[in-house]
């Protein structure tokens, strides 16, 4: 067989293989974009079963648009009546048993069910996406596979016609399920979506999170000598914590699917080292001035440890 023919054959095969791969990736990306739009723009309700950090919670879930603004609501169905409500960008958590009201002012457009990045093209160096039809249910399954050890893998099941989420699983480094959200009694465009009345946001005793506007990251008294690949700063702020009221510096980073927070404070009372529960890992270390920096989030242990190790005190400002 002449060498030129073999070369030609391998070129043709190579082109066919690479274009098939591109089509598959494009399809998965398009599905994820549809999922994102559905979760943010459609009216739907369901019963959501969350398995996180070793506990299972059943919540009534609603999402909709009213007067041009998004609302999203989760109501605990297992006796605690714990309610989480989003109205536009403000998230209110109401705990009737303890009469506790917590209001988070952080601007966030994401769904309570799952975060899907706005620009998937920006993170394709860090994740691979693969889509396949679900053989039994005629739904879609999307695999979100990390390219490094700084994030978890995910798998999403969604309806083929409406792109509504059915199930979301998060896998640890050993590819074992560590989180699951499963939706049943799913109703697209429900006729009736009662919006439970929650206590007024100025209720006495309400605790606030991120009440002050974010500040530039350069204001932080710590620096990251290296950031984790693919993670971008979302906000930096100095704020009181919701229970103790102690002031901390808070930097939030995200790669679009996963997020982690860096906290620094003088008297944290935190034991240094690595702690975890379910998908959450945290790593704390003491800085030379005695303050404690903690990196925490739903990411592998390696990610929090590395980012904490790459966190140093900022150089004092020159006069």
């Amino acid at each position: 067989m002449p060498n030129s023919f073999i070369l030609y054959l391998s070129l043709v095969v190579g082109i066919l293989v690479s274009s098939a791969g591109a089509a598959e990736e494009l399809s998965a990306t398009a599905l994820l974009e549809n999922l994102r739009r559905t979760m943010l723009e459609r009216n739907f309700k369901a019963t959501a079963h969350f398995f996180r950090d070793g506990t299972t919670t059943r919540m009534d879930y609603q999402h909709g648009i009213r007067a041009g603004k998004r609302f999203e609501r989760m109501l605990d169905l297992d006796g605690h009546a714990h309610e989480v409500l989003r109205h536009d960008n403000i998230v209110t958590c109401w705990l009737p048993q303890t009469q506790r009201l917590v209001i988070d002012h952080r601007p966030s457009t994401q769904s309570f069910l799952m975060t899907v990045p706005e620009r998937l093209s920006a993170i394709q160096a860090y994740y691979r996406f693969q889509a396949q039809p679900d053989p039994d249910q005629a739904n879609w399954i999307i695999d979100i596979i990390p390219e490094d050890a700084y994030r978890y893998a995910r798998k999403v099941w969604l309806t083929q016609d409406t792109y509504l989420p059915l199930k979301i699983e998060v896998y640890n480094e050993h590819n074992r399920v560590i989180e699951r959200v499963e939706l049943d009694h799913l109703q697209p465009n429900p006729q009736h979506m009662p919006l439970q009345a929650t206590p007024a946001q100025n209720a006495a005793g309400a605790r606030h999170i991120h009440q002050d506007p974010p500040q530039p990251v350069s204001q932080a008294q710590f620096v990251l000598t290296q950031t984790l690949p693919g993670y971008q700063p979302i906000l930096f702020t100095r704020m009181p914590l919701p229970e103790s009221g102690d002031t901390v510096e808070h930097l939030l980073l995200s790669d679009g699917f996963s997020s982690l927070s860096v906290y620094r404070e003088k008297h944290a009372g935190i034991k240094t080292g690595l702690t975890h529960s379910g998908s959450v890992n945290a790593y704390s270390k003491t800085l030379p001035d005695g303050s404690v920096v903690t990196v925490i989030g739903e990411v592998p242990a390696q990610a929090v440890r590395q980012l904490a190790e790459d966190t140093q005190l900022a150089a004092p400002a020159t006069p």
């Binding site: 079963h49 989480v84 958590c93 982690l260 009372g269």
Partner: protein, 156 residues
Amino acid sequence: MSNSIHEQISCLLDDELPPEQATQLLQQLRDDATLRHHYHRQQALRMRLHHEPTPPMSTDFLEQINAQLHPSRPSMQSLKAAGHPVNWSMGLLALAAALLIWLTVNNMPQTTSLAPTTLAHTSSTHAASHARLREYLQAHNSSRYVGRPILLTAHR
């Protein structure tokens, strides 16, 4: 999670599943940490019914044994088990990550037990540290963590 699998777990606790079904269910428990947690919680509940103590148990009890018995095994096996397409680069990456985690992290993460017993072993220093981490989580993602019990445990 479907009730039927939880019902099967209940039967497994009572030794009332046919052997083949029991083996299949145990395989499912191995591959799904959430189900495994449920099974061990139900076992703990049975012990409590008989007024027996339920010592806290880390959820990666099995992984820690495997890390000592065959340190290079977990990733490729579990990739297959979880139904992901087996891809060599992904497998090697997961293997490297797993090895690194085993080498650097070591043991004792979250526990499976009936919560009050676990809390009884928590010292006040741990309690203060844990309370602070809970506050951090609430500020990290309020919709997930406000009002939700979460117990972060230290790696030894």
